[in-house]
Amino acid sequence: MFKLLYILINLFGLLLLAPILDGLERSIKAKLQNRRGPSLLQTWYDLIKLFKKNPGSTGTPRFLVRYSIYLSFTTLLIACIIMPSIIPYSYSFIGDIIVLVYLLISSKIFLILGSISSGNPYSLVGSSREVSLSMLAELIFAEIISVFAITNNSLLIEELFPAKIFKPSLICSLILLFFIGYVESTRLPFELGEAEPELSGGIILEYTGLDLAFAYYSVLIRRIIYSTILINIIIPGNVFIHPILYLGCLFLLTIIYSSIEASFGRLRIDSALSILNKAVLIGGGIVVAAVLGL
């Protein structure tokens, strides 16, 4: 019974926190760029405004266009349920780290299916770029998971979170996870779904009102999930310290991410792919080191 309560606290905590963190990011970016910036709750206000509006639809299979965005959102909710976040109890009764990563990836795939089905050629261009990126991102994820598997000798979430021994290879893989979490959470230099002016909106170009709110919300939740995976490995699993440390780390990570984002322009797709290719090679090196026992 308590377990269910913890799950609900974690789930709703993340749902509540995600827009606030985005508000924080927006205000930090504004400060760095000498602007005034919105309040912390501005993202919440935006979302609430959008949630009140009517959905719109286009494209041939209307049902698929709209339903896929809810599927994408729900997959992220399931990912939130699997992970320990605010309260450090592990709930791996649904799956392990591979399942978690697959849920994140499939959330993106559902979104892209809906976006291409909307029939807009520009969102198709954005989607195909996004898929190109996430193919390489999945390779990097595989490398990270394999390092976890070697160092912990298990893929279960309760064994992985938190890490018991910090070997050099594990630390390197955490840095890689930091990087790939940044890439996959549609932040600026890698936000290639909307790289050209006419692509603005990118994947979610055809969504309006309520559906757009869900699309935005999923991006925010995806960001917080990536941060949570990273934080969970680092901080200890004590019931009392964990929530405080977790929130502290979350805010710290948001500050780091937003200041990186504020200082970059957008990359071209080929240069983004070549950066990811380099990351893949580095990841391969880390895996070799982990196999050798470093």
């Binding site: 494209g59 041939t60 599927l71 399931i78 399942v99 697959y102 291409i116 050629p121 070697i150």
Partner: protein, 646 residues
């Protein structure tokens, strides 16, 4: 005779009758007869193999032919059948996909093809099913080879069925020549096995090889090469992407879904039952599997022809199966029994999954051909409005092959990752490649589904009105698609089918009983201490929450509007994004890979064989016709001597 034998024999008998009768008729009647009889006999095969798998029994039967046909020597003297769980598992797949394809095939064939040649098709179709079924249930190397060759022959006629199309004939020829070469290697291997090891006994049960003996190393390499040619493993895969698309679609479903699995059956027998697992063979097989999945899937990403794309994915998915098989052999040899069992489980699970979703996909591609007459992904589009059921089954199968939870491909791929990530060493890297390729597969099927069904078409062929799909073609796809869902959310069903094989193999290696690693319940799989997966729970949560959101939002009025095209008023279909541009950036990022592979292809498949051919011609010019006859005579003499020795 037990019930199982009766079922199998009646199925074989009906298939035989079907192929003979369909030769007597012409046109539509022959297709009708062969479809009904094949579907019925496939149903019998399914029943028989389910009985074998559920009861976990071994059924054996010997028919001494030498008393019936006087003068027949001992090599072909006995026709022995042994249906154990491994044979049962593969014959189940044959029966299942065969049943569905036979129902689908009737309408497809009589509508799309001229009625003159249909009798020939019907004969070969029944023969193909018959030979596949017999290949997996005979327990005798000689009869195995006979039916193997028959399988190649009949499927070759099906591939080059459209005699007027030059490409189809060429593809069939290429397929036949390459796989025949593989069969020759198998023949030599079997001859060595029979003469050297089993004391002239051709039964499987007599073959016991010492894996470090040089002759048996030669034998195993011959077997492995011969089988991997038929299984289309890289570098022997070049026939598959040409041959599979040319066949009628339900035959492609059989070829990709079932026929290329038959060599895997023999590989499992060879490396688990004829010999002990060894580290080097495990590594070789796993390496070839990893290379196959990498090359096959990356080439699939480039394709713009729907069936060719699926054919390349067959190569890629075979890589997954072979990788897991190799990993299990390696892990067994390393005495990591727990992980080895997981890998074997994953291999068999992915095998049955692949035959389900790949057959579905080929059938959907066939329906698209039926409706529009086109295979070109650059031109197709917007078909989900006209063929909703096909669209639904294509979506389910695409998500399954991409490994999206909670469909069946997800569980089997997850099991492959679990075993390979935990094994450490070289297999770990193959696991990483497999996970990357899973992403590429997803991308490729996003392209497949969206270009055909969901995005607007460039221009719809046949005056904007695709033909209506008959029910007899919709139902088979939906049946297979629902099996994809069922095998995904209830992994206990495939586990019950696989369990017998796992028990057989663990018994034969005296694996300690405490390595009871796989723990499967109604809706969950868990590998103790390694990983857990609850697909049923994920499915319930996914469907219920998303439907709840949809139900809540449905009360709000939906605003309908046109697609936004940057403020200009042009039709969205005029700004068409062709299928070949979908991942052009990614292909550019991987151009080193593609260039190397293309160069290797030109050198090894085009230039060197051409040189060999010219030198052979010169040689034949040198040797006069008389010398030819001399050589042939010598060959016949050797054959007779061998037969006399037996």
């Amino acid at each position: 005779m037990s019930l199982i034998i009766q079922l199998f024999f009646s199925a074989i008998f009906i298939l035989l009758i079907s192929s003979i009768i369909s030769l007597c008729f012409r046109g539509k009647t022959s297709v009708l007869i062969s479809s009904i009889l094949s579907a019925f006999s496939c149903l019998l095969i399914v029943l028989g193999s389910l009985l074998v798998l559920v009861k976990n029994t071994v059924v054996m039967m010997n028919i001494p032919l030498r008393y019936m046909v006087p003068g027949l020597n001992s090599l072909f003297g006995e026709f022995s059948i042994c249906i154990d769980s491994l044979s049962g598992f593969f014959s189940l797949i044959i029966g299942l996909v065969g049943f569905v394809a036979s129902i689908y095939g009737y309408k497809y064939m009589i509508t799309l093809y001229e009625s003159e040649h249909l009798g020939f098709y019907s004969f070969n179709y029944s023969m193909f099913l018959l030979s596949m079924c017999l290949t997996v249930i005979v327990s005798d190397l000689f009869w195995f080879i006979v039916f193997w060759e028959l399988m190649t022959l009949s499927s070759q006629f099906l591939v080059s069925f459209e005699k007027e199309k030059k490409q189809a004939v060429w593809a069939g020829y290429k397929y036949f020549v390459i796989t025949k070469a593989g069969a020759e290697l198998l023949i030599i291997g079997s001859l060595i096995a029979i003469i050297h090891y089993s004391g002239m006994n051709t039964s499987y049960l007599a073959i016991r090889l010492n894996p470090y003996d040089p002759i048996s190393v030669l034998l195993l390499s011959l077997f492995f090469t011969g089988l991997s040619i038929k299984a289309a493993l890289v570098p022997f895969h070049t026939w598959l992407p040409d041959a599979h698309p040319e066949a009628p679609s339900h035959v492609s479903a059989l070829l990709s879904g079932v026929m290329i699995k038959v060599p895997v059956y023999m590989m499992m027998r060879t490396f688990y039952m004829f010999t002990k697992p060894t580290i080097y063979w495990g590594l070789i097989i796993a390496t070839i599997g990893a290379v196959t999945l990498f090359v096959g899937t990356l080439y699939a990403l480039m394709q713009t022809d729907s069936k060719r794309l699926l054919a390349y994915h067959s190569v890629g998915q075979m890589g997954y199966i072979i990788l897991a098989l190799g990993a299990s052999i390696y892990l067994f040899a390393e005495k990591e029994y727990a992980l080895g069992i997981i890998a074997l489980f994953a291999s068999l699970y992915h095998l049955i999954n692949h035959s389900l979703f790949k057959s579905t996909l080929f059938l959907t591609a066939g329906s698209v051909i039926y409706a529009t007459g086109s295979r070109d992904l650059n031109k197709l589009g917007g078909l989900s409005k006209y063929m909703p059921l096909t669209s639904l089954s294509a979506l389910i199968a695409s998500l399954s092959i991409s490994g999206i939870p909670p469909f069946n491909g997800f569980i089997s791929k997850w099991a492959i990752y679990c075993s390979s990530f935990m094994s450490g060493g070289i297999i770990l890297f193959y696991g990483i490649i497999a996970m990357f390729i899973s992403g590429v597969t997803t991308a490729s099927f996003v392209k497949y589904y969206t270009t055909i069904f969901s995005r607007p078409a460039n221009r719809l062929p046949r005056n904007n009105q695709p033909a209506k799909i008959p029910i007899s073609m919709d139902v088979p796809q939906l049946l297979l698609a629902s099996l994809c869902v069922l095998f995904g959310i209830l992994p206990i069903i495939p586990y019950r089918l696989i369990k017998g094989i796992l028990i057989d193999i663990t018994m034969s290696y005296k694996v300690p009983q405490d390595t009871n690693i796989i723990n499967i319940g109604l809706g969950f799989v868990s590998f103790n201490g390694i990983g857990t997966n609850y697909p049923l729970l994920i499915a319930i949560l996914l469907i219920s929450i998303s439907s709840a959101i949809y139900a809540l939002t449905i009360t709000k009025k939906e605003i309908k509007y046109d697609t936004w095209t940057c403020g200009t008023f042009i039709e969205a279909r005029k700004i068409h994004y062709p299928a070949k541009s979908y991942y052009s950036d990614f292909e550019e990022a991987f151009h080193y890979f593609y260039n190397t592979c293309n160069a290797l292809y030109t050198v090894f498949v085009k230039k060197i064989p051409a040189k060999i051919l010219t030198s052979c011609k010169k040689l034949s010019e040198v040797i006069e016709e008389g010398a030819h006859m001399c050589l042939i005579g010598l060959a016949i003499l050797i054959l007779i001597i061998i037969l006399l020795m037996v």
